[in-house]
Amino acid sequence: MRLADRAAPALLITLTLFVFILLYGPLMVPIVSSFFTVSHGAVDWSQPTTAAYADLTQNDSVLAALWTTLVVGAGAVVLSVALGTGLALYYASPRARGRQFLQFIIFLPFLMPPIITGLALLIFFRQVEFERSLLTIIIGHTVFVLALVYRTILTRLQSLSGSLVEASYDLGASGWQTFRLVLLPNLSSAMVGAAILAFALSFDETMITLLVTGTQSTLSVRLWAMMRLGFTPDINALVALVLLFTTVLCLVAVRFLMPASAVAGSDDD
């Protein structure tokens, strides 16, 4: 073996490590500083405290934003999973018309930068004289996450064997019974995974929300407004909590969507 061949793996590991430091390192700064107080623009490292977290529970604007975020997330999840399942079933049905075009429209808000989706909706709401409110945020988020939910459910649907449905019909089940008793149980874990992903996306969505929101602000819009003022312990505490929450959501979603073999860590080749 030549020297270059032996140096290559070491270089790879070093570069990978460097990228992970780039990805996670910056996040440590607000998390660590959330346990200390900031005075005169500098962090006072002498005394760790959880005061910032206690203050958050008293901060009405943050609590209101949290409530808005949860309502928007729940609304977007229910709407996008219902629509996504319906659209996936439609796409997979033999007599569907214009399915490629339909799929293209569904993917559009995911392909285009969020600013375009947000602005298009903003102009649309104004033109049809639809007051900007909680509902407009929910619609914006639903349109944004629909592509992902639809794709996740369609992938699962297409992995099912067609003979399942044929068997159900042979046994005398109606279309509705087949859907409820055969397809739905098989799709449920993909639907749960998609719902969690959709919630996580909605939870963090900022660009579309900034454009279509009326007077309410979601947590990420609230954070955005706070951050422009500076680096303070209450922002850091909120940042730490949000990061913890999304990380947990992400891990749970992965468990629902990853094939079981990958989770068990089996060797595939």
Partner: protein, 290 residues
């Protein structure tokens, strides 16, 4: 096989009803707003109210005004550089992932996926806390004695935007590259080795060319995400870090010229579509060969 799994309707009217139901939401809330948006770009503003008669003035203004075109090109160049940097960082990581097996590969993949779902705003904030004049990077450099006063090279300018976007978008570049590397049959690399190629030769002449589609789609992916962003330049760009996305956003806020903002967004959409097509091009032409 997969075509026939959805329940079939009982009568002839059902397919039409199903089609109608399937199209109504995507048409109403995606296609209609996008179409309206295109129409808006041909309107104009007079004394703060929108004039609903068709004109090309917004587009003419973009191409003739000395302000907008230079910012547009600068933003394109910036986003292209971000895409290039992301791929340079992401390729070794993706390659390293393919050398792992079983559980460790899965764990590392999840670790790369987690930042994707983390709040975008928070990631910008975190990177800013490192870059700032009083940030970690400057303090570390001061502490090591490499510089004697805080460097302003990366504080509230386009360099800061470039660095922040790169850090934010690396995970988006890893996935497509990893998927294309994973798809390369092992037999090809073994064949190359059997024919007497060194590892380096196999890497440069087999692995890299075959992963090109994934690398290019990663680049177009990152480019599209970077060019549409207006939050990062707003947060770390300061006065000099003006980008195209920021200008569009300001048309709907302080400048209050919706039709002009719509026209600028149509131009943005055209660039995005071009980037997506370029990124997907190699993929489809390769698909035809195989």
């Amino acid at each position: 096989m997969s075509e026939s799994i959805a329940p079939a309707g009982p009568n002839r009217l059902t397919p039409w009803l199903a089609s109608f139901a399937a199209f109504v939401v995507p048409f109403g809330f995606v296609l209609a707003p996008m179409a309206l948006f295109l129409v808006y770009s041909f309107f104009s503003v007079d004394h703060g109210s929108i004039v609903f008669s068709p004109t090309l003035s917004n587009y003419i203004r973009f191409f003739t005004d000395p302000v907008f075109l230079p910012i547009f090109w600068r933003t394109c160049l910036l986003c292209f550089t971000v895409a290039l940097l992301c791929v340079l960082f992401a390729f070794p990581v993706a390659y390293f992932l393919t050398t792992l097996r079983g559980r460790s590969r899965y764990m590392l993949l999840v670790l790369l996926l987690v930042p994707l779902l983390m709040s975008y705003v928070i990631k910008i904030y975190a990177v800013r806390s490192i870059l700032g004049g009083n940030g970690m990077l400057n303090r570390a450099l001061l502490a090591t004695g490499l510089i004697d006063k805080p460097s302003m090279l990366f504080v509230f300018n386009l360099n800061a935007v470039l660095l922040t976007l790169t850090v934010l978008l690396i995970p988006f570049a890893v996935l497509p590259i990893f998927l294309s590397l994973e798809r390369i049959p092992k037999a090809l690399r073994h064949a190359s080795a059997d024919l007497g190629a060194t590892n380096a030769q196999t890497f440069w002449r087999v692995t890299v060319p075959l992963s090109l589609p994934g690398t290019l789609s990663a680049m177009s992916f990152v480019f599209v995400l970077a060019i549409g962003d207006f939050l990062t330049p707003q947060m770390v760009g300061g006065q000099s870090g003006f980008t195209f996305g920021r200008i569009i956003y300001s048309q709907f806020g302080t400048a209050f010229n919706w039709p002009f903002g719509a026209a600028l967004s149509v131009i943005l959409a055209a660039v995005v579509i071009l980037a997506i097509r370029l990124g997907g091009r190699v993929e489809s032409s390769r698909g035809r060969i195989q």
